[in-house]
């Protein structure tokens, strides 16, 4: 909550900073939290969600299953989506940003 409140502060007080952040860090249109889920649900849910999204929309996937962290990016690319970022949040928790149908 504190973090959210701080983010709000930044938004109000420093619009320029926010605009700068937006170019560096694309804002997701949708977030998919598949932490804790078993194989292959993280992958299947990610791919079906991406198929339903509009071209150019950004999907954020939160995932903690190591095999899917490796498999989602390569399969998203194979399906003509664009992987913008794979980052480790903490331990096995990862955050993947994908632009839907970017290469279609």
């Amino acid at each position: 909550m504190l973090i959210l409140a701080q983010l709000g502060q930044i938004k109000v007080t420093n619009i320029k900073e926010e605009a700068k952040m937006a170019t560096e860090e694309t804002k997701p249109d949708k977030t998919l939290d598949v932490r804790g889920e078993i194989c292959p649900n993280p992958d299947v849910k990610t791919m079906t969600t991406l198929e339903k999204m509009e071209k150019g929309q950004i999907l954020e996937v939160l995932v903690d299953y190591p095999l899917s962290v490796e498999r989602i990016p390569r399969n998203a690319e194979n399906r003509k989506h664009k992987v913008l970022k794979v980052e480790r949040v903490k331990g096995p928790d990862h955050r993947i940003l994908i632009e839907a149908k970017a290469n279609k």
Partner: protein, 355 residues
């Protein structure tokens, strides 16, 4: 029962299990994913790892058998049990979200769903091999047993009256040539990806990152070779296995029915090895899916327990250890594990119910 209550040589299962668990976790080595992803995700990385591990073990086993270090020991060809058990096991692993090796390494990584699957595997596995379903299992095995004229258990070599050494090396050679031919025709995307990885220091690549299919397949194939030798020096003439290890462990530690064996020591070490790999890689976390999914994992584990109990082993006993010995029983069980996997994967992920 041998004369000694405790055979110190079963302790060689510790280093073998640690290495096995470490490699399973780093390589994310799961045959459920390997076979299921052929149809569901069209991803072939783990399939290549499984193929390479079998190839490496096949060559190693053949050389060791020829040198009289070990003896090729195929599981008996109980064809009915192999078909039924294999198919059921294949269905179960899709529902449980992992094969025997997959759920085992994920227990070490802290995944509660995998723990539920292991519980089901143990419970129904024991019922099938020594409990209420014992008679069913032994009937289907006895009723469908086929042996060679000399009373040996079938392999691809003795079925054609060829020496094991020649047959194994011929098959391995044929696979290698085919593989070289196919990879030549494929693109060089993989080569580029590997060049990219070159820049990462080796320590980080071994301990922190997931392994590619090639190191995974080679290491697991080599672990299988060492396992065959080590266990043959202790109490059993067979390479790696998983389900029997769980059952013996529970019988030994909880039910007090027998002693720990090489296999049970190796299996416990496998879980520890996977934990070490996950811990060093910063991937260990106790994590649980929804209660409904945990129940699903347990149910899948129960189905796997029945399948492995009837077929005399899981995907490790048959596909990773039996196929490289050219055992016809294991090839049949393996084929039906794949068929069961595809049937369940189609039902769960590909079918579009009334859309």
């Amino acid at each position: 029962m041998g004369g000694h209550p405790f055979d110190g040589l079963i302790l060689t299962g510790i280093p073998v299990g640690l290495a096995f668990g470490f490699a399973l976790s780093r390589g994310r080595f799961c045959m459920n994913s390997a076979f299921r992803d052929i149809i569901v995700l069209k991803d072939y990385a783990l399939l290549k790892a499984v193929g390479l591990a079998i190839l490496v073990s096949m060559i190693g086993f053949a050389i060791m058998d020829e040198a009289d270090v070990i003896t090729i020991s195929p599981v008996p060809l109980w064809w009915g049990a192999m078909m039924l058990g294999g198919f059921v096991f294949g269905i179960g692993m899709v529902i449980a979200g992992g094969c025997a090796s997959g759920i085992t390494y994920r227990v070490g990584e802290g995944m509660v769903g995998a723990m539920a699957a292991v519980a089901g595997l143990i419970l129904v596995g024991l019922m099938t091999t020594t409990g209420v379903l014992k008679d069913f299992t032994s009937d289907i095995r006895k009723g469908t047993l086929e042996m060679t004229h000399e009373g040996a258990h079938f392999t691809l070599a003795n079925a054609f009256d060829v020496s094991h050494y020649i047959m194994a090396l011929a098959i391995a050679g044929a696979i290698l040539i085919l593989w070289a031919f196919l990879s030549r025709r494929g693109g060089n995307a993989e080569v580029e990806a590997e060049a990219e990885e070159e820049k990462i220091p080796w320590k980080e690549r071994i301990f922190k990152r997931g392994w590619g299919w090639m190191p995974t397949g080679i290491v697991i194939g080599l672990v299988g070779i060492v396992a065959f030798y080590a266990s043959s020096e202790a109490d059993r003439m067979y390479p790696l296995g998983i389900c029997g290890g769980y059952w013996t462990t529970v019988k030994s530690l909880i039910l007090g029915e027998n002693h720990m064996t090489w296999l049970s020591v190796m299996l416990l070490s496998t879980i520890v090895g996977a934990f070490i790999a996950a811990f060093l890689g910063g991937e260990f976390k106790l994590r649980a899916p929804s209660p409904r999914t945990i129940l699903q994992c347990f149910g899948g584990g129960c189905i796997m327990g029945f399948g492995a109990g009837v077929a005399g082993g899981c995907n490790i006993t048959h596909i990773l250890s039996g196929v490289p010995q050219l055992a016809l029983s294991s090839m049949l069980a393996g084929a039906f594990i794949i068929l069961g996997c595809w049937a369940a994967a189609w039902w769960m992920f590909l079918r579009q119910p009334g859309e």
